[in-house]
């Protein structure tokens, strides 16, 4: 547990109950969890374990029915809908399984999107410069004007990562970021995550693939709405090394 800083995420007895007609579904049952600045956490669990519900709350997309969620010291569970939106815009970055890029829109304009909803109104020139810088950081220099349909899955996910990073978030949240990618591209994306993490960005990633989770430094496994295990990964895989192995083994999957 590499607690090299203050807790950026603090969950205290968080619960989430959905009401579906007569049925009450307790998706998350009293989770307490601390994630510190600079951590790279993989959130695991089978489907129905409540990891997506937890992720929605971490992402300030949804409020817990009970308990407290402190993000960077702010009690998110008390905020209004619009305040939550501002938190998502300024403190969080999202990466989705299906990329969720706007179709028929250039990579640059997709990346600019969070800036447009931000506090400061920027000129077109400023928007462009910021977006191009982040796109270059995820290795997409020269692809700024490409539309999603002209990019591979891995490239689309890089655009999504650039979009998540553009406002300099406290935490990068990734929901099955490699779910729609082949294994080689998955490792590339993990490489980007590890690079970002080395630069101090906190990452929380939902995955159900054990080999993807082993690129993280901490694995939290959920079951039936509670944390089943919470362990530090003794020897995280290094994406660069693994990519080298794939290159020598050519098309062999790294399972």
């Amino acid at each position: 547990m590499s607690a090299n800083g203050a807790a950026v995420i603090q969950l205290i007895g968080v619960e989430k109950t959905y009401r579906a007609g007569e049925m009450e579904v307790r998706a998350v049952r009293g989770i307490s969890l601390e994630i510190c600045r600079g951590e790279f956490v993989a959130l695991m669990g089978s489907s129905g374990s409540g990891k997506s519900t937890l992720m929605n709350m971490l992402g300030a997309l949804d409020r817990p029915t009970a308990g407290r969620y402190l993000l960077d010291g702010i009690d998110v569970s008390q905020l209004s809908r619009d305040q939550l939106a501002d938190i998502r815009n300024g403190k969080l970055g999202f990466v989705f399984q299906s990329f969720n890029l706007l179709p028929r829109t250039s990579a640059r304009e997709n990346v600019e999107l969070p800036l447009l909803y931000g506090k400061h109104q920027l000129t077109n020139q400023q928007l462009r410069e910021k977006a191009d810088r982040v796109l270059a950081a995820v290795g997409l220099q020269g692809r700024e004007d490409h539309h999603p349909s002209q990019l591979s899955g891995g490239q689309q996910q890089r655009v999504a990562i650039a979009r998540a990073l553009i406002n300099g978030p406290e935490v990068l949240l990734a929901d099955e970021p490699t779910g729609n990618l082949d294994s080689r591209t998955s490792i590339e994306i993990m490489g980007i995550f590890q690079e970002l993490n080395d630069r101090g960005i906190t990452i929380v990633m939902v995955t159900h693939e054990q080999d993807i989770a082993s690129y993280a430094r901490r694995n939290v496994v959920m079951r039936d709405g509670s944390v089943q295990s919470d362990i530090a990964v003794a020897q995280p895989l290094i994406a660069k090394t693994e990519l080298g192995k794939v290159a020598t083994a050519d098309d062999q999957p790294t399972a």
């Binding site: 997309l61 619009d82 909803y117």
Partner: protein
Amino acid sequence: MRFGSTLKIAFRALRRNKLRSALTALGIIIGVAAVIAMVGIGNGAKAQVESQIASLGENIILIFSGSTTASGIRTGWGGAGTLKVEDAEAIRRELPGVTAVSEEVSSTSQIAAGNQNWFTRVLGESAEYFDIRQWALSNGAPFTPQDVRSANKVCVIGATTASQIFGSDDPIGQTLRVKNVPFTVTGVLTSKGLSAQGSDQDDVLIMPFTSAMKRITGGTTLRSINVQVANASDLDPTQQQIISLLRQRHGIRVDREDDFTVRTQKEIADTATATTDVMTGLLGAIAGVSLVVGGIGIMNIMLVSVTERTREIGTRMAVGAHGRDILTQFLIEAVSLSAVGGLLGIILGVGVSKALSIWKEWPSLISPTSIVVALLVSAAVGIFFGFYLREPLLGSIQSMPCATSE
């Protein structure tokens, strides 16, 4: 504060779907253009009719001898010779507002000159007739009051009659025969074209009414009397004065109807333009339907696109859009589509009206009212849209987390 960004976002979304945006705006373009063009056409037709009525002259009162009932048979206007030359003289002499009077008799007759002959309308008038109808001569001179007093055998002919009888020869001073009575042509009238009823006003021969009564019709009564007054405001009082004067002269008892009919030019014009007003209204209403359909088209496409774009809305919410931002974005999209559609529609509508007016040789009449109405409707589309779409939009905003997590 965010409005500038939202504007940018909305325009990017419109640009992203160029074809859909263009097709959506097309509904409004056609609707607005149709309203403007149709109302323009209607107004053009109305102005055409009005200018034909105006060709009668200015501030005219027409008196027709009335219908009569003989042995149970009613004859209609002009059927009974109730108007006398003395009636016209009394009007001229006794009514202050009257500036000119022309006694009129009318018949149709075969006329001939040399080896040419032609069937035309023969009018007997006073010398003032040409002033009353503001009818100038293109050639020669009109007959004089002296000609009228002496019942001279002189006449003035219309442009059509002149070309039918004399071809390209100069008719001035030539002799033509009306019912075998020789008349000397003193002048040729300028062309007035078709009347409001569609008859050729230039197919005519005009002679002093005294000559006509003595030599052609043989009667002693007038078909009608044309009266001109100085001002439009004199029309109604003079009309009343004429009625009481004529009733008195004709000795009509209080409980009996007039044996004549008095019409002002305005009444005649009103009757004629009433028809074109109905036509304009009809055309405008039909075009209005297409404008409404165009507006509904915009709202429908926006509604469909909201459900289609739930995923996009989810993504926007995830990166920090407020519900209001999304609502504003869709509103701006709809308003700018209807505004651009409205403007293009006005340009198209004005263009079509101009083209039609050139083609039909109508006065080009684009009513500012129709432009304002068209603009208001397209603005209303945008505003109504806001209320219409609030529900589905807010619905998809509520369901946002599901949309993002797939």
